[in-house]
């Protein structure tokens, strides 16, 4: 798995990591039973505090998508409900992609499209789905 954390984004790093793992589950990059690196290994790789990784893992465990087995690592655990959600997200991604294509053909620039999306979503705080 590849993660990209943005230290200057207005969002805690553990939350960014959580969302990227959630997203990877939704798009199928991470599947039921897959193992994630240990806290120390991932922290060294991302050059972030181990507390950042530990917090993301423990929140994901609370959310029921990660199984932390002491000494043997972190495993993705995807429930049937989460799989259905993953299908919905994949379908939505397709619709977003089509819509963006349409808007580009209508002559809008990517920045303008992005602003429209952001303006629509503005004011709502970042959410993490707890499945």
């Amino acid at each position: 798995m590849f993660f990209k954390l943005k230290p200057s984004a207005g969002q805690p790093l553990y939350l960014q990591l959580m969302q990227q793992i959630q997203h990877a589950i939704e798009n199928g990059a991470l599947q039921d039973g897959d193992q994630l690196p240990g806290i120390r290994t991932l922290a060294e790789e991302l050059l972030v505090s181990p507390n950042t990784v530990a917090k993301a893992y423990s929140e994901l465990e609370h959310a029921g998508v990660l199984d932390l087995r002491h000494g043997s690592g972190a495993f993705i655990s995807v429930s049937r409900r989460a799989r259905l959600l993953a299908d919905r997200v994949r379908a939505a991604e397709m619709r977003v992609r089509n819509l963006i294509e349409e808007l580009r053909e209508a002559g809008l620039l990517d920045d303008e499209i992005r602003r429209l999306f952001e303006a629509r979503l503005a004011g709502q705080s970042e959410t993490v789905r707890i499945s």
Binding site: L5, P7, A9, G10, P12, L13, E44, S49, P50, N51
Partner: protein
């Protein structure tokens, strides 16, 4: 792991004659965390670190490090075993070779980690047979770091550890700090490398002219600091004072634009701007660099 702070100071200060280097410092460093200590040159960072280590005596206030009072003149051996320090000048015995100083240092520490030494010698690319005097500044830094990490300290204090390191060296350094923290060591380091601090630290303290001007977790900073840019149809003089809400650190204007730098309360500020008929309101997160500059310019 206990949640007792590893470092705690109370009104700590140090004056040299009439010049005060550090004033009324209330600093807390938590266990198992990476805490960064930022400040301009001459802000008092090294003075603070030396007071914590008992190398210089405070002229005001008090403090404890791992439960030991910092003005306790009987520097116990036990305390020195539990705290490792990498100083700014990395003074080492120049006539020894890398291998000799490792053997020499290891004799003081019962918990010495030979495996850590082996790993780091390789990772840092240090030549065991070279005399320390002929090492580059960056290599000396890495050697000092190796000697500190192999002791498995409870608290690791570093004064400007990235000085003299190239980008790969800085990467190695940060990786070592992360690994050390993962083993339960509290890490406290001063630095000018804001981008690296922003990535790796849990907590950041900013010292300016001897005073602590910020002590916050990076997660809280990310959530609460915002720069809010607004456009108003007209900018009457009273507008600024009407926007002077809690959390507003500074306000700049240019033409019809107004830019508010807020340490918290962004939602209420934007609400107020809407009430004042701002045409456009945009809030953007603020990086540690901007926060740092704002803190040292304002004070």
């Amino acid at each position: 792991m206990t949640s007792e702070p590893v470092v705690e100071t109370n009104g700590l200060g140090k004056s040299y004659g009439r010049i005060s280097a550090v004033r009324d410092l209330n600093l807390t460093v938590g266990p198992g965390r990476i805490t960064a200590f930022l400040g301009l040159n001459g802000a008092g960072k090294s003075t603070t670190i030396r007071m914590l280590l008992g190398m210089i005596r405070p002229t005001e206030g008090s403090g404890t490090v791992l439960g030991r009072r910092i003005d306790d003149p009987a520097g116990s051996l036990e305390f020195r075993r539990r705290v490792a320090y990498v100083s700014e000048d990395k003074r080492l015995y120049g006539y020894m070779t890398v291998e000799q100083i490792i053997r020499f240092t290891s004799s003081f520490y019962p918990d010495w980690r030979a495996d850590v030494v082996r790993t780091l010698l390789k990772q840092y690319d240090l030549p065991p047979d070279r005399k320390i005097r002929s090492l580059s500044k960056g290599m000396r830094t890495k050697l000092a770091l190796l000697l500190a990490l192999a002791r498995r300290p409870q608290l690791l204090i570093l004064d400007e550890p990235s000085e003299g390191l190239d980008p790969v060296g800085i990467e190695d350094l940060l990786q070592s700090l992360v690994a050390q923290c993962a083993e339960g060591t509290a890490v406290f380091f001063s630095s000018h490398q804001i981008a690296e601090v922003e990535r790796v630290a849990d907590q950041v303290c900013i010292l300016h002219q001897g005073r602590l001007v910020l002590d916050a977790s990076l997660d809280d900073l990310r959530l609460s600091y915002r720069q809010i840019d607004m456009v108003f149809p007209s900018l009457p003089a009273e507008l600024q004072s009407q926007l002077q809400l809690e959390g507003v650190e500074s306000i700049r204007t240019s033409g019809h634009q107004m830019s508010v730098f807020a340490s918290r309360n962004a939602d209420a500020i934007m609400e107020r701007a809407r009430d004042l008929h701002a045409g456009s309101i945009e809030a953007a997160p603020v990086g540690l660099r901007e926060i740092f500059l704002q803190k040292v310019k304002e004070n």
